[in-house]
């Protein structure tokens, strides 16, 4: 899955939780949760949906790295990359 595909999946999930989201107005390099008023329950639901749809389990310890949409996409890309080792 490339970056564009990951981003599309993530936005789809966020939209299922915050249907009023205007993609054009979302700044991918600014804190995500503030821009679309995601509370901790919404955020947990985003993570559960990522877990179900992309099979990625994001540990709580990594929440701090996931501030912007760009952060989240980059993180998922890393986690989804096939391991060559």
């Amino acid at each position: 899955m490339n970056e564009t595909e990951i981003k599309a999946r993530v936005l789809e999930i966020i939209k299922s939780i915050a249907p009023e989201l205007e993609e054009a107005e979302l700044r991918a390099d600014r804190p995500l949760r503030d821009q679309i008023d995601l509370d901790s329950m919404d955020w947990l639901n985003v993570l559960v949906a990522l877990h179900e749809k992309l099979k990625v389990d994001i540990p709580e310890a990594d929440y701090g790295k996931l501030v912007t949409l760009d952060d989240l996409v980059a993180y998922l890309r890393e986690r989804l990359a096939p391991h060559t080792a």
């Binding site: 915050a18 329950m41 639901n45 993570l47 559960v48 990522l50 877990h51 994001i58 540990p59």
Partner: protein
């Protein structure tokens, strides 16, 4: 014969529009079964029945708006025959529901009726057909100008009104605002609130939660909000005068802890349905219930028991960044617990100043039912409970 009535759906909801029957005559029903879906100002509510029987007659057609307490259907008790029920039905105590025009004002509790009674009192004659038609077209009959004899509202008047009123998707929001306005005005008019607050150190709770959550996949993760709910429920054990209702001039303690959780709706508005028996649920079960409730509240799909029986309300505005909440009690409840933002602030303990994660918990309570001394003891107990997260 059992009369199945539209149950109370909370003090700010006095009527409902029947959207769907989930059963038909001849079906047997069991306790807790959802038998109908009713639209209220806040959500589409699955109405449960709490008796066992067989559906006999459905008395309210789909699309009709009826007041709380109206008989929606009759049921046969186990062993009762339709003939017995029919003969009872002819008895003098005629049920009010099948009337085509159930007066919506009758069910409103006195305090809420005050503001809304005025326009209804001078209601003009409305033909049953016009009223049914208005209901079908989703037209507010009280706002239709009547052109018939004595200003009577006719079906043509309803058609005209329907044509004039543009479809308004924000209707639900407007209705919800009205419902909140009625309940909160009543609260501030009737309830002598007192307010207390307490700063609670959260380091132990957060460290414990981090350890627990690290052991589980994301689907079983627990939020600090669930911890706070459980701590409130357990702390209420020592302060029963905060858990219950003020009715008819006296406090009625509740027999269980059903916490109304204030959930903000993304499109605007607020709803506070109950999680039942919070004190008896494990944190995992409580978290599951909380997640389910928030999802359904936001999707506008709740159950009648969740709407009608919260015994206390908890609101958490910390995520919006406020330090503390001084809330308005939801009548007939007698207390509301608020949590503010969880943040690291300076904290002095044992003569040392440290940076600690803290949260401000507040209590709004009804001074008719309890005094500040008891309220203070409740907050102290809540603080103590949150220092022992492993016992929650």
């Amino acid at each position: 014969m059992i009369e199945f009535k539209l149950p109370s759906l909370g003090s700010d909801m006095d009527r409902g529009k029947l959207l769907e029957w989930k059963v038909k005559p001849g079906d047997s029903v069991k306790r807790g079964q959802v038998v109908a879906v009713v639209d209220t100002s806040k959500a589409a509510v699955d109405v449960e029945i709490w008796q066992v029987g067989t559906v006999f007659e459905q008395l309210v057609p789909i699309g009709e708006t009826v007041p709380v307490g109206a008989v929606l259907a009759t049921l046969l008790e186990p062993g009762e025959t339709p003939e017995q029920a029919a003969s009872k039905r002819k008895a003098p105590a005629a049920r009010p529901a099948p009337k085509p025009a159930p007066a919506i004002a009758v069910a409103a509790p006195p305090a809420v009726a005050a503001p809304s009674a005025a326009p209804l009192a001078q209601r003009r004659p409305v033909s049953p057909a016009a009223r049914r038609h208005a209901s079908e077209l989703n037209v507010d009959i009280d706002k239709v100008t009547g052109t018939g004899p004595h200003g009577a509202v006719t079906t043509e008047d309803v058609d005209k009104a329907a044509a004039q009123s543009a479809p308004a998707p924000s209707d639900r929001y407007a209705e919800m605002r009205k419902a909140i306005a009625a309940a909160m005005s009543r609260s501030k008019r009737e309830i002598p609130h007192y307010y207390l607050s307490e700063t609670i150190p959260m380091r132990r709770a957060l460290e414990w939660l981090t350890q627990e959550n690290a052991k589980h996949p994301v689907t079983e993760r627990i939020l600090v909000g669930a911890l706070q709910l459980k701590a409130v429920a357990l702390a209420l054990g020592k302060s029963p005068e905060l858990n219950g209702f003020w009715r008819d001039g006296a406090f009625q303690p509740a027999t269980a802890v059903h916490i109304g959780v204030a959930v903000s709706i993304r499109q605007g508005g607020l709803i506070a349905p109950a999680i039942h028996d919070v004190d008896k649920k494990s944190l995992v079960d409580l978290m599951r219930a909380l997640s389910d409730l928030v999802t359904r509240a936001r999707a506008g799909s709740l159950r009648s028991s969740e709407m009608s029986d919260p015994t206390i309300t908890v609101t958490n505005l910390g995520e919006q960044g406020v330090e503390a909440v001084l809330g308005v009690i939801y009548p007939p409840q007698v207390a509301l617990v608020g949590f503010g933002r969880l943040e690291t602030r300076p904290w002095a303990e044992g003569g040392e100043l440290r940076a600690e994660p803290l949260v401000t918990a507040s209590l709004s309570a009804d001074h008719r039912a309890s005094d500040g001394h008891r309220g203070a003891r409740f907050l102290a107990e809540l603080r103590e409970r949150l220092q022992h997260p492993e016992e929650l």
